[in-house]
């Protein structure tokens, strides 16, 4: 309104004039503030896109690279060797159970004898200590006797008589000292009053030049006799895998050598490419020439793969024969192994029962792998999709291996998910209940105490929580588990990390759930009370159902919080990269795992930029980012829908 052509009234002109407002570069203060906030919002979006782009850029070549690596794995024959290894391992894991059962059974069946052996061995040590001096004297005499014997044997006819005399003297001395030693032993045995008579007798009958006492051997034999039948089947199973083991180790060296050639070729090609690039960019003709020479010096000789892997194909008939025998041996073992019910020890029975399905599994593995082995071709192309499934469904994350690296995402994902679920199972009941209590049931004084206290948890640095988990929670959990009679091998495990992450999730879930409940219109509460409902009925039947989508959103955001948490899991989760054994039931919680976040934090510092391992880590980061983004998106949608309804 600065130009008012029609009105001549100066008063109105002044009152509507813009002139009084301060401006900067022709833009008013309000506009500047508006632009500042708008700019910041834009910056946030730009950052988000930049992070996305960066992650994708670093991760995107993972699949082609991994594909190449898998291709080499096949070309070099390593895959073939793995087929043998699988058979070997399957048999071994079945045998391990049988072996455990055997040893436990042996210890139990021969408990009395083994106890006697131990008692004898302990007493023997004491007695020998006691008679040590006498032994040393005898030992010297014995040496002399041997020397005398040698001398006598080598003596000329003329010296025979004197040698004979020396020998006889030595013999007498040895005999006397032996008697002296035995007297010492007998005296020592008398002090061992708690021993049974047969042990005492055996001790008295010891000779200084005797290795194992016949008494001990008798007992050992008696023990072995009790499990003799079991021992035969066990040993047969143990020995049946040996030809396979031999073949496997033999061919492993062949494949490893072939692979080395492949790797050498790859690095040579990379080096050559680098030199050629230097040729392009060389500033002076001299430098160009030097680079060209260097490039020419690198000779790219592709290995003759057919020749490299020929020994593998040659070994196939042998492998078939071995597998056939192995199957036969497993079948025989299944028949010959004792009926678990006949075992005397319950743990041994259990192990032997567990062995049966393992044996069946081993047979399946042997059959399947042998079949694959016969059709295996080193020059068959690896499907590109294999690198994708190999990542997302792979159960092994093996890096810096001299054999072959595998980047299987599944153990990390399971670990992260398991810990997050444990954390939420603990955190959600506490925080939602606390939110309901503070908002609906607590007095004003309580609410003003509870809310800031819970929200304060957020202020604890996660590394401090991690230390607490290592030093205090881990020990207390183990003590608690011991008290309850649950075995807990690892101090750092899923449960420990889950509890700490629960602590970190509580403030998030509590605050958001409390907001959701607070947003329920008081009219609903009034209506419920007016119908004669109690406070509890009102909370459970009206307030919580109304706020439920907000509460679910709070839980989802809590999930996003814990699955992205790094420090605590790195310190406390145990960092063992394997899919936990779910057959253990709730015992799975006592196992160590590794997580997506923990692994990235742990390994990123040690890998070469641009390597396959590096890209694999970025791929994990990308997946993690996608998970967080999805969870956040779903919870935002829920909150929006819920706030429209409220």
């Amino acid at each position: 309104m600065s130009k008012q052509s029609r009105s001549s009234d100066s008063d109105s002109q002044r009152s509507f004039s813009k002139k009084g407002r301060s401006t900067l570069l022709g833009i008013s203060k309000d506009s500047w503030i508006q632009k500042f906030f708008g700019g910041n919002a834009l910056l946030a979006i730009v950052f988000l896109l930049a992070i996305c782009g960066f992650l994708i850029k670093e991760a995107v070549f993972f699949f082609p690279d991994y594909h190449k690596s898998l291709q080499l794995f096949r070309q070099s024959g390593q895959e073939y060797v793995t087929l043998l290894e699988d058979q070997y391992k399957a048999q071994k894991s079945a045998y391990a159970l049988v072996d455990q059962a055997y040893n436990i059974e042996r210890a139990n069946a021969g408990a009395a004898e083994l106890e006697k052996i131990t008692a004898f061995a302990t007493a023997r040590n004491k007695v020998l200590d006691f008679a040590e001096e006498a032994y040393d004297e005898w030992d010297d005499a014995n040496d002399e006797l041997e020397d005398a014997q040698d001398e006598f044997d080598d003596a000329e006819e003329a010296d025979k008589a004197s040698a004979q005399a020396t020998l006889e003297a030595a013999q007498t001395l040895e005999k006397n000292l032996r008697t002296a030693w035995k007297a010492d032993v007998s005296a020592a045995v008398l002090q061992q009053s708690s021993l049974s008579e047969d042990v005492k007798d055996a001790l008295r009958q010891m000779q200084p030049d005797q290795g194992m006492s016949p008494f001990q051997m008798e007992l050992q034999k008696a023990v072995d006799a009790k499990v003799a039948e079991f021992a035969i089947s066990r040993n047969a199973l143990r020995d049946s895998v040996k030809p396979l083991e031999k073949l496997w180790l033999e061919l492993r060296d062949v494949a490893a050598a072939a692979k080395d050639k492949g790797v050498t070729l790859k690095t040579a090609a990379e080096r050559k490419a680098a030199y050629l690039e230097a040729v392009q960019n060389a500033p002076t003709p001299e430098a160009r020439q030097k680079a060209q020479e260097q490039a020419d010096a690198v000779i790219l000789a592709a290995p003759d793969w057919d020749k490299e892997v020929a020994p593998l194909y040659e070994a196939t008939p042998r492998a078939n024969e071995i597998s056939k025998n192995l199957l036969q041996a497993i079948a025989t073992a299944k028949e010959n192994l004792p009926d678990p019910a006949t075992l005397t020890d319950s743990l041994a029975q259990e192990r032997l029962k567990q062995a049966t399905p393992e044996l069946v599994k081993a047979r399946e593995v042997v059959t399947a792998r042998t079949e694959t082995l016969n059709q295996w071709r080193h020059d068959e192309k690896v499907g590109f999709f294999k690198s994708v499934t190999g990542f997302f469904l792979g159960a092994d994350w093996v890096t810096n291996s001299s054999w072959q690296d595998f980047y299987g995402f599944l153990p990390l994902f399971t670990g992260s998910l398991l810990i997050s679920i444990v954390a939420l199972c603990i955190a959600v009941p506490f925080s939602v209940a606390a939110a309901i209590y503070t908002n609906q049931l607590a007095s004003k004084g309580e609410a003003t105490f509870i809310k800031p206290t819970i929200e304060f948890i957020q202020a604890i640095p996660s590394v401090v929580l991690g230390l607490f988990g290592i030093l205090i929670l881990g020990e207390s959990l183990r003590d608690g588990a011991e008290f309850l009679g649950i075995p807990m091998q690892e101090r750092l495990n899923v449960l420990n990390a889950g509890i700490l992450l629960a602590l970190m999730a509580v403030p998030t879930v509590f605050t958001l759930a409390e907001d959701a409940i607070n947003n329920v219109p008081s009219a609903f509460r009034d209506a419920s009370f007016a119908l004669g409902a109690t406070k509890f009925q009102t909370v459970l039947r009206v307030i919580v159902p109304t706020a439920i989508s907000g509460i679910i959103a709070a839980i989802l955001l809590g999930f996003g919080r814990v699955i992205g948490e790094t420090m605590v899991v790195l310190l406390v989760a145990g960092n063992k990269i394997s899919i936990p054994d779910f057959s253990d039931g709730l015992g799975v919680l006592t196992q160590p795992v590794h997580t997506m976040t923990g692994l990235i934090a742990q390994e990123t510092g040690e890998v070469n930029q641009g390597s396959l391992h590096w890209r694999a880590l970025f791929m994990v980061a990308l997946v993690l980012f996608m998970i967080s983004l999805t969870v956040n998106y779903i919870s935002q949608t829920l909150i929006r829908r819920y706030s429209l309804k409220g």
């Binding site: 219109p521 009370f529 007016a530 119908l531 409902a533 109690t534 159902p545």
Partner: protein, 261 residues
Amino acid sequence: MSTQEVISSPIITLDDVSFSYDMGKTNTIKNVSFDIPEKQVTAFIGPSGCGKSTLLRCFNRMNDLIETAKVTSGKIEIMGQDINAPTVDAIELRKQVGMVFQKYNPFPKSIFENVAYGLRIQGIKNKSDLATAVEKSLRGAALWDEVKDRLNSSALGLSGGQQQRLCIARTIAVQPKVILMDEPCSALDPIATAKVEELINELREQFSIVIVTHSMQQASRISDRTAFFYLGELIEYSDTTDLFSAPKEKRTEDYISGRFG
């Protein structure tokens, strides 16, 4: 209190009742005494802030939800019982004294569940019992024909007037003796208002109704007796026709003729 009359069968009796929102520092309701008759419609009128809604909320002790609010003197008896006696359970009282609010507030549940709510919290689980009671209440609230085909759809999908009648159905489902209505039509359009008024007319046969209203026309249309409050005091209380045709008090006359309020 010149208009005090003897009512033969009172359901609510007030004797010198005072009420305060701030622990007795100032009284919002001052020494009110009168009787409310059974199975009739009693209207409370008066300008904003005169305490009529507050008094209504004393009858089902909804004011208990406010920590500092309390009845500072006098006695409220409903069906012969002092409702503020320590032995009285407010939960049980509210089952006998239902309430309909100014702004319709059905729960975000289905129509059926809204009506069944009061019965469910009393522990009734039998499905056919619930269905019978819900139908009876919806018929009682003249809503059955409009919603019988969509009992399981959300109550929030109904029109404003329907929602308010649903709230009435929800209230009568628990079979209270008294229904308190706090300006039940103030958020409704004239047609919906007419329907609710018609409904109130039918309900007076079964229930004793106390209604707070801003509209003097509404009070004169639907109520048998009318109480006029001003600044926390009961100014005049008599048959509705008498109060509107021949008010005894000057302030009543000024108010109903529109000179203030």
